[in-house]
Symmetry: D2
């Protein structure tokens, strides 16, 4: 997962982009970068670090101009190299071009092979680089025309920001898998993955970039063009509501906090349990746990404390410490747990490793019963559209029944929200969003863009 931000027409464009990236840090902490434009020149800076560590006042001072795009990237295994940090920035026939990408292209390896066969050389292992090569190989024309030609040859998920010496373009794939919103502050146009980025810099929300739309900003103002036929049915990612987006953001026209509470409430309706206390796995399970406790009318307590000082370079001792990794991050509040029947709520279970340690930790803290509750359905299928889920083999729910998982966790009971319930929560009542048929492939296996599908004509 990644986060992107861009501003056009702001005297401190790079600085505002930096602030925007700061609010999107939950979408990516592995690398951070900004490319700005000033008087026909692009200026770039990228680091393998979190936003707060990546940028100094000096670094920002070297990113002049009234336009900039920025990118944060999630930590993934392997390929964690500076050359894969974004914005990706090169020279081609029309001059400098920088690109920031949230999402994943499907079938990009073939595209890459095809490009290499015709003489392209690649500097990164990112699928994003294909888009720029396809633009460079397109017939001469305006930036948006080259972009259209390039996007007709790729498929998958992409919310993109492009910056050249005189223009910025924001676009989303025809399915609209990943979010991208437009804001406005003091006459400047802002693009961002989530609305929370608008808030910090004082920008007001204007609207979403539509699936298949490209919004172009240059000295003549803002205009919108189509990037090809829209997908018959847009399918934004439902998992943004469950986990990714920040609770104070709006995505895909819906609010995240309300949706998460609804997920908890529906889970309680579908799977009521008689417990003494409801606790979340912080921070991801907090909102759903509030809804769950409310619907069950049971006390909500912060029974697990999360340490916010954990760095990625923590040095492990040689002595065996039981559940060391989880203990570093989470600690139980014995007074809340001891002698009680506890429902512990999280947003999802991936491999099951951490959940199992949490159950064990709660039992050690004296819980008489531990009921694990998950505010989404079992995650059975990998995501090809931008979320770094593991392969099927690693997803515990792809090969184990709910009962088997419960047994593995050592919990007294285990229950998930149903897919039907989840879709109801997202579209729920007054907080809901217009009836988009969300992408729910990670739970259902129904992929909107198949791996073997040929590119859009």
């Amino acid at each position: 997962m990644c986060g992107i931000v861009g501003l056009f027409g702001h005297p401190e464009a790079a600085h505002m982009t930096y602030l925007g990236l700061h609010t999107l840090q939950h979408r990516g902490q592995e690398s951070a970068g900004i490319v700005s434009g000033h008087e026909g020149q692009l200026y770039g800076y990228r680091q393998m670090a979190k936003v707060v560590d990546a940028f100094s006042a000096d670094a920002l001072a070297k990113l002049p101009g009234d336009r900039a795009i920025g990118h944060v990237r999630y930590s993934t295994t392997g390929q964690s190299l500076l050359k894969n940090a974004q914005p990706f920035w090169v020279e081609y026939v029309d001059g400098g071009i920088a690109i920031a990408h949230n999402g994943n292209l499907v079938g990009s390896k073939e595209t890459r092979r095809r490009l290499e066969a015709s003489g392209s050389i690649f500097q990164s292992s990112m699928d994003t680089e294909c888009i720029v090569h396809l633009m460079a190989a397109a017939p001469p024309g305006a930036l948006e025309d080259r972009l259209r030609v390039a996007l007709e040859q790729v498929r998958g998920a992409y919310s993109l920001l492009l910056l050249t010496e005189d223009k910025m373009i924001a676009t989303r794939d025809p399915h609209g898998f990943r979010p991208l919103v437009i804001g406005e502050v003091g006459g400047a146009t802002v693009f961002a993955s989530e609305t929370c980025a608008l808030h910090l810099i004082g920008a007001k929300f204007v609207r979403e970039v539509e699936p298949g739309e490209a919004v172009i900003v240059d000295k003549d103002g803002v205009r919108s063009v189509r990037m090809g036929a829209p997908a018959p049915t847009p399918s934004p990612c439902a998992f943004e509501f469950v986990y990714f987006a920040r609770p104070d953001s709006r995505v895909f026209g819906g609010n995240v906090y309300g949706t998460r509470k609804a997920l908890g409430r529906i889970l309680a309706e579908e799977q009521p349990t008689d417990v003494d206390v409801v606790i979340p796995v912080p921070d991801s399970g907090v909102t759903a746990a509030l809804g769950y406790a409310e619907a069950l009318d049971r006390p909500f307590e912060m029974g697990l404390i999360r340490s916010h000082y954990v760095g990625r370079t923590f040095i492990e001792p040689q002595s065996a410490i039981r559940n060391f990794g989880v203990k570093l991050k989470l600690t139980p509040v014995r007074e809340v747990i001891e002698g009680r029947r506890v429902a512990v709520v999280d947003d999802s279970i991936v491999r099951g490793t951490t959940s199992r340690k949490i159950v064990s930790m709660l039992r050690n803290a004296g819980a008489s019963e531990v009921h694990f509750r998950v505010s989404s359905p079992p995650t059975r299928w990998p995501c090809y559209y931008g979320i770094d889920t593991p392969t099927r083999g690693e997803l515990i729910a792809s090969s184990h029944s709910v009962e088997e998982i419960r047994d593995h966790l050592g919990a007294d009971s285990l229950a998930y929200t149903t897919l039907e319930g989840l879709l109801r929560a997202i579209g729920d009542g007054d907080r809901g969003i217009s009836g988009a048929p969300f992408c729910h492939a990670c739970w259902s296996g129904e992929y909107r863009v198949r791996m073997d599908e040929s590119p859009a004509p």
Copy 2:
């Protein structure tokens, strides 16, 4: 405020100390240090940085031995120099000695002047250094005897860990202002400011170090000696319950989470209000807000989201951004706030600056009413015993009435827990602790050790 940890008899003493410091990071993020002992030699390492940043695997590898003490220091204004980082470590007549100190000595400037007049030279501006000078000047004798002579000449708050080439001593001042507990893991003795440090390293809680007691550990085992007459009435710091200690810790025999909930409940009883929703200022106000909502039977929501990525070197833009500093750290969830009567709960108000911005932020997010609730009495007096409160002039409650503060915050109402209520909460029922008359000078001005008091004879 500071945090201290020590282990004696553990094969990875420095590493365990490092883990312990990690859990105490809420007590000090300005500097971190460890001194270990191995075969008659001390080895030290100190940095002006948070624990996670301060230590590398290399740095830990250079701290050999089965004994170590560690220290984290809170960020204070001025004097933020490496020479003031702890453990403080020097050579004196009996060899090397290292000391880690939580608390503040009263009248240490006079003591220092007296020592300098008789030829002592000082390397730091820390009051802690006086203790070592006094020990060096004491008549020849065992470490504990030199320590007793030194401590008879100082007063104030100190929980101390001392390490020499063959011995570790843990001691608390006669009033027991600051906490210090004893634990045990695999035959090794552990000392730590809070029990949460024991949990991570798998140690079990044994007991507190008593006020005026010194616990000595060496190759012959663990023994206890008195450091002089105990204070007639020990007076542990009540503010540890309100704010400092981690909610999953026990301090002074009481549990922190339970006490904070009780503070919220009592506040609700003392100051009921008709609101639609109760929200905390995260993370400090969460537990009290839970108690407050519970007692009022009103919904508890996480209406403010805290960013956990804020570093101290954040680079401010030149553009004016309204409430920039607070926005970086806290953002409102509009869906929770809009059109509602909101009670917002925090643990204390110091200068009032942040609280005022929070009220303004909630109004901007659409709150119809904002009721500010504080789970402790108005903070009117500075602390001389180890908490970095500002001077009286900066404490808004020392010069303003509650109504004036409410007006300054722009809140519809403002209410504090009473001192009587606070003391009741700390000693409350089954969660309570033996009736110690806590130090509550920061609220009442009743100082247990006066500035002009002469040292114990």
Copy 3:
């Protein structure tokens, strides 16, 4: 100017490359990099730093395999960016490829424009990148065939090392502008810009790579192929003898130390002067000054001391200090200078700024006369083949007569070695080299590859 080294078949290939780069540091201190190959993978590391600062044991440990190429780059104005550090390393249709280049292509901007027009995207501003694009666009074939096609489309100066997953190629342009030698150590093949790199790693000199030759090393051994017709007259760079190469190296079949002494001797014959003492500008003028003093039979003294601790980040005071920059680097030995007629010998005069300060410094130290002697002809023309000489406008000799330069320096006399004398010195007697007509464009303006010349057919 740059330096390159490569090894194939050595168990510590990257480490040996690092040592080789160390000896070539006089050829480039701005950036340093190594790419190694292991089990079908390339591993790279580049830094904007001198070799000694650029590499740590950790960095070397991450460059596994029995083959590696390395590069050091000279500090130039502008374009001093990490993306321009070498080896340049990308993916193309046949896999990974890394390239290290000493020299400069002529007309590379056109080539680049042509490549961009057909869809290539560029990541650097280096001419070297063109070669890889041309290889990628060449018809399918062996590495050496792709390389031949690419090199037929470029002209100028290039000594190149290429590394792919299974092969290393070393090649020189048809004119042989820049040096490149072959060595052998313990069965491994070594390539290096100068023989001094062989010495440190214990390798023995085998021969030079010939102009227009490509030497290919892979698992089947070493073989040689032609890269196209050789230039009718190879023209190695004479300035390597005057300044660039290390005095303990052999380049182009000649020895550098002997040639420099001969330059000094011929200068003395051509321009004898009656002086009391001969001193060099250290280190560049030392060898020629020895020859000059010997031929004149006058005492040689180290009358200027060079500080070897000058870093590039020296912080200047605000107070005016006369000749500050030169004083940092050079100081006179008053006892040698005072009251004497001094001949000071340097290898060349570029802008004249430093030489002028040296004359002033010698007069301040009491010299009764200062005679400036230069062991090469006046530098009047810029180099397009790899030496970072300034533009014509900045070369003092391109717009000033010798008498005008003497006047500018404030010297009592000024004399240069003649071009005829220089060519005699290079080819001199038993130390000489086979009668190659060296490139002497920087002195004569006779360029062997013209800017407007079309590429070799």
Copy 4:
């Protein structure tokens, strides 16, 4: 060995001190530090690094004021810790005091033991710290009076600079073992170990600080006081001329370059040899080799090239490389050596390890004979007065005859300058210095301050 500099009354005092330290870097590259004074406050900065690496513009900017002292320390084995870097800076009864010391106290361990017994605590393992403790323990009085009391209790070698909030003092021990000169620039007073430090900052030489003299500078000007009875015979260190001081410096009233040439000439007279060429071990042997070649009337050549890029963190390969360490630093010029009888001149032989490798390297480069010449007598005794010579056991000449050393080196002959010749060279003719009986203990074993001698009364 160490170097010290101080300025009083200069608007950029710290910056000038930094420049001065830069020129003294040959006297110490392990640590560098400066303490400045401004408006009654001292400001300090110390690093374990060379001057060029230790200071940034930021660091200098934090050292305000018109007075400063600085120190560079030589790399020694062990005890290489930041706490031992200088200037040493503490608080005592009269306020802040900083001290920079070149030299070594004799018997400082006893003094330390005595001080500790009376209650002093030590933060470093430097003998210098004793002086400050003794000053702190002295009867109340002016800084110079406290200093006199302290110095009466120590013996050995010390050239000292002290800085307090209002005063600077420069003093030398009664024997005047180590140099210290006074200069003047624009009304400011400068102190420095060698005159070369004056040159860079444009200061003119005034005179030496006399043995046993203290020069005091404050707002009332400069004045001189005695620090006790002078030693009956001052005995400055002769090794400063042989090796330590820079050739462009004057020390103890004599010039270093001229003395070194005289050492070479006298060596040639005492030990003439029939060789084809004379080469120095650069840089230490260059000047003496010039004198040696001149006296023998044989060609002088730079037959060994020294690499100036060697850092201290060089990473060694696992492969055995013959004479690796020496090769990194020195390489032979085969053309100069091959087939010739070579005299190689160095200033001294300590352990013999490097000299042996040089002989082997010259033979490998084809020398027909290698004659090793040393421009000082055999170093047989350790120095207790500030030079980091090894213990007697490690000094090859303390346990081996000249013939045995020759055999160990593998040289055809080996010869040293005699002590008589050395003393003649130092006092030689017009370049000479007033007949001070220099300290020559490292060659003769005649120590001027005995280890068991009691302190001056």
